[in-house]
């Protein structure tokens, strides 16, 4: 039973991840809020389960020529260093405090997503108006 619940949680996170929206941002709250998994454990699961999917999609993207690697090392090296430091830091943070921090992060991220989603809808509307105008001509 436990296995099935976790499998469903993974499915929900995976669908969003496959659509290119941070799957972990949904997977982690599902695991902690709905399934009672400790915050640190949920974050650990998210990091590890991301790896195989990322490796597969990276291979596909490389074959499709979608990778643009200019300057990426300048991002990868500092990002890797800081992620290790961040990971070490939270090992000493309580699960409750980490969960609240994650909640604040999610709220901020969702506000940004709202803004870009509305922008996208407006752009789509403007696009269809333009094409309608052209068709009218």
């Amino acid at each position: 039973m436990r296995f099935l619940v976790y499998l469903l949680a993974g499915l929900a996170g995976g669908v969003l991840g496959g659509m290119g929206m941070g799957g972990g941002c949904v997977l982690i709250p599902i695991l902690t809020v709905l399934c009672g998994v400790p915050q640190h454990m949920a974050q650990s699961v998210n990091l590890l389960t991301f790896l195989p999917m990322a490796a597969v999609s990276l291979h596909v993207h490389a074959e499709n020529g979608l990778l643009d690697t200019r300057g990426v090392l300048w991002m990868i090296v500092p990002a890797t260093l800081l992620s290790v430091l961040g990971g070490l830091f939270v090992q000493n943070v309580s699960g409750g405090a980490l969960r609240v921090g994650f909640g604040v992060f999610l709220c901020l991220l969702s506000l940004y997503q709202f803004a870009s989603g509305i922008k996208g809808l407006r752009a789509a509307k403007a696009g269809s108006r333009d094409s309608g105008y052209k068709a009218g001509l």
Binding site: F3, Y6, G10, L11, G13, G14, V15, L16, G18, M19, G20, G22, G23, G24, V26, I28, P29, H40, Q43, S44, N46, L47, L48, T49, P52, M53, A54, S57, L58, H61, N64, L66, L67, T69, V72, W74, M75, I76, A79, T80, S83, V84, G87, V90, V100, F102, G103, V104, C107, L109, S110, L111, Q113, F114, S116, G117, G120, L121, A123, A124
Partner: protein
């Protein structure tokens, strides 16, 4: 922009991404994609390249969490299988749903989850 300034900007973006990824065990991709797009990459290229940047970062922070003892075989196996199957389904859904509409629904779910975690 001078070369040094460009590199400093990339490093800063990388540091922000890495810190978030290490602290919250994910979410780095949500930050890298808009940063890459601001850097002049097309959305599809930005998404693909983001994975290339996030993969080594996740590998490093996953090692830290595992060393901290955060491992449960049943949980990891079940979620891992779910994520793989769901990921394939999600990739196919991408063409069916309008990206802007999907983003708004996604944002609403995230906001609700975030509030639930704070209170």
């Amino acid at each position: 922009m001078t070369e040094v300034k460009k590199i400093a900007k990339l490093c800063g973006a990388g540091m922000l991404t890495g810190a978030v990824n290490g602290l919250f065990g994910g979410g780095g991709g949500m930050i890298v994609v808009p940063l890459l797009q601001a850097n002049g990459r097309a959305p599809l290229v930005a998404h693909a390249t983001a994975i290339l940047i996030i993969l080594p970062v996740c590998l490093a922070s996953a090692a830290v969490y595992l060393a901290g003892g955060w491992f449960d075989a049943e949980l990891f196996l079940a979620v891992g299988l779910g994520v793989l199957a769901g990921g394939a389904a999600g990739a196919n859904l991408l063409g069916v749903i309008s990206p802007a509409a999907a983003t708004l629904v996604f944002a609403a779910v995230m906001f609700a989850a975030g509030v639930r975690m704070i209170v």
